[in-house]
Symmetry: C2
Subunit: 424 residues, 2 copies
């Protein structure tokens, strides 16, 4: 079929009639599918079944003699920090292993900055209002909600395929009110792209108006590959140190999509000075994390090879789901000039850019057909996508058959919305 732009009004009207018929048939199927969130499927969680009986009755002593059952050890067990040293790109002594949510660590880091300030700053960020974060778009709605919740202004910056548009970033950070930037540097949520070495270098070395500017480096998908290709991500902590900005980056990750989504470990890493600062703040909040869950992870994952082997099993389960989406989109949307979509090499999402001005309509059509999609705009600050264009597709949680069905439905809704828009 030719691109929609080459169709006559009559041909478009005929196409719309045909698509509506298809759509009505879709509605008649009474689907109940959810493609909203990047949740592991039950089969993925089964990969960690062994953990559910760990550490076992007699295994509660850490390498340094710590009784993992009792209070204490705010930074986390040494062997757990060592286990995640490669993944975090930091020495074990610059890592904090906490409870089950890296979002919580990002939240707390922001709260401590707001109420106490960070090293190199002039005091609490909350006294310098308004402050601003740069938000590469499309991005992660929970990052944006944190900023919005605490009155931190957000400036969107476009992603380029190798990370944020660094010319725009470098220009924006000259403003001293700009205190931070959100980055998902590998297999980005939702575009799937990995920041280039040059992007990392420029982020680490750029001149900032704020002396206490911080990069929130949410490396959520560090080991979450979908193909045999393994794009290299430059080490942000090393790049910052080399550029003379050792305290610039806070690194976050978690095992939520490695072991158990609700019962993983959250990870934090930064410079020695930032670490001391963080622990001083976190020490008022808690006496220490759940160290039994840390032992569980050490016993189960063991080392880098153990993590890699485990992630291969995830890949076997979810790569076919991504392929099914790709197939459905290609079959229906290729060459139509109404949509573009990403082919991620890792991570949890596919970005679908539909015809400008139709993303909300696609979501509404899908909803009426029993398919929940992330709201249009969720990939942008304040939930506002100025082009009403970008949708985030999360194919991991439903079964492969459901994913295929859902992707076909999304493609149909995308096409129908585009035709409707052209006909006015």
């Amino acid at each position: 079929m030719p691109p929609l732009s080459e169709l006559s009004p009559d041909a478009l009207a005929d196409l719309r009639a045909g698509l509506r018929k298809e759509y009505d048939a879709l509605k008649g199927q009474g689907l109940k599918l959810d493609m909203t969130r990047g949740k592991p499927a039950s089969a993925q969680l089964d990969l960690s079944a062994e953990m559910l009986a760990l550490p076992g009755n007699r295994d509660t002593t850490a390498e340094d003699g710590t009784d993992a059952r009792n209070y204490g050890n705010l930074q986390g067990l040494a062997e757990t920090r060592a286990l995640f040293s490669t993944l975090m790109g930091a020495p074990a002594d610059q890592i904090v292993v906490a409870n089950n949510s890296s979002l919580a660590l990002m939240h707390d880091t922001i709260v401590y900055a707001l109420l106490k300030g960070v090293p190199g700053g002039r005091g609490p960020w909350s006294k310098e209002e308004p402050i601003t974060f740069l938000c590469p778009v499309p991005g992660y709605d929970r990052h944006f909600a944190l900023c919005e919740g605490y009155g931190i202004r957000m400036i969107p910056v476009p992603m380029t395929g190798e990370g944020p548009d660094m010319d725009a970033v470098e220009k924006a950070v000259s403003d001293p009110s700009v205190k931070g930037i959100w980055c998902v540097p590998k297999y980005a949520n939702p575009s799937g792209e990995t920041y280039s070495a040059e992007t990392v270098r420029r982020l680490a070395s750029m001149k900032t108006g704020a002396p206490d500017f911080r990069i929130f480096w949410d490396n959520a998908y560090a080991v979450h590959h979908l193909t045999a290709e393994r794009p290299e991500l430059a080490n942000i902590l090393e790049a910052c140190a080399a550029a003379g900005n050792p305290n610039r980056a806070f690194v976050f990750a978690s095992t939520s999509k490695v072991t158990l989504a609700g019962a993983g470990l959250a990870l934090w890493a930064s410079s020695p000075e930032n670490l001391r600062w963080y622990l001083a703040q976190a020490g008022r909040r808690s006496i220490g994390p759940d160290k039994l869950n840390q032992l569980r992870h050490v016993r189960f994952l063991r080392d880098d090879a153990g993590i890699a082997a485990h992630m291969e099993k995830h890949r076997e389960l979810i790569a076919p789901k991504f392929a099914a989406v790709e197939e459905a989109f290609a079959a229906r949307l290729a060459g139509q000039g109404v949509a573009q979509w990403s082919a991620p090499k890792g991570g949890y999402f596919i970005t679908l850019d539909v015809q400008d001005g139709t993303a909300s309509r696609v979501v509404a059509l899908a909803k009426d057909a029993g398919l929940a999609l992330t709201p249009a705009g969720a990939t942008h600050p304040y939930g506002k996508d100025p082009n009403d264009r970008t949708l985030r597709i999360a194919p991991t949680f439903p079964s492969l058959a459901e994913v295929r069905k859902a992707a076909e439905a999304v493609a149909l809704c995308t096409l129908l919305a585009a035709v409707e828009a052209r006909l006015g």
Copy 2:
């Protein structure tokens, strides 16, 4: 022996010489004892050994069908909330079950109040600086550190044996800058006293200058009995509701000293309106708690009877330690007019009031003899006990033999410091 006050200077000097000899002998023993923190002993943690292999490989589905391994359920599993309903004095739907630290819940509740404000208030508390909390003394150093860390002024209020001096509290809260009060209402840390029904009624019904005044009700020792007596604590949430102040109290507790100190569950309860507020804030911070640990607790503790039976086992282990301290103090200090100490019916601490002006000296003497005590002043805001009088003794962690030895050492140091002070 007669009270010190009846001894002649010569008799005092003789006494000092004898005590110093004893003290030098004590130092010669090379003790290494720690009575600083209310930590369960290893034998207490062994009581929950069964939990270490729970929930087991096939037991991950909650009563409502939730997969406890996956993301979600910010408020906690319904069956876990039900399990702690009696302990919290709140219906399950007004309870939040979180991760392993109730201190973290107190911290977060304060942070949300500072940055967002609470229901009934005029906005973020941080915009109304300075704000003030009332701090019944002696009290818990980590409560005070939270206030100090975030610049919240603290006003000490004396404890009376049935809770804080309510005349002083009622007078102080007329000041609209007073936003909160810290309460450990049962087996208080460290005095051991339980608030009377009248104290609870007055706290719930008193007129406050601030429309958004809050009681931080840290019911840390709700089921932690040391005797067969079970002093009744009135229900603060019901008292506040009855008095027309339904949103006044935030209730906190944990299972840190029920199951596993580092891997327990933290509990939060309040009015429906406060609950909605709390979840709205906490929902930006995290997608949900570790629900597998919640299942572990439900499987292990089962119900109120299960909790009570389990706490009896703790009592059997720790009551003898409290008795050993009592015996050692009585043997050495009774009738000397140099010290008073509490005889708690529950909780984790004994308060030892030494001769005014000598608490720091007692701690220093103990330290030189190899016995770590909580710093003098720790029971007061800013670490300052104006009378240099109150010491907190934590007898649970060391072995019974060590506790006896440590209590004898404390008694000796207390007596020696008192004699020294009298001789100038």
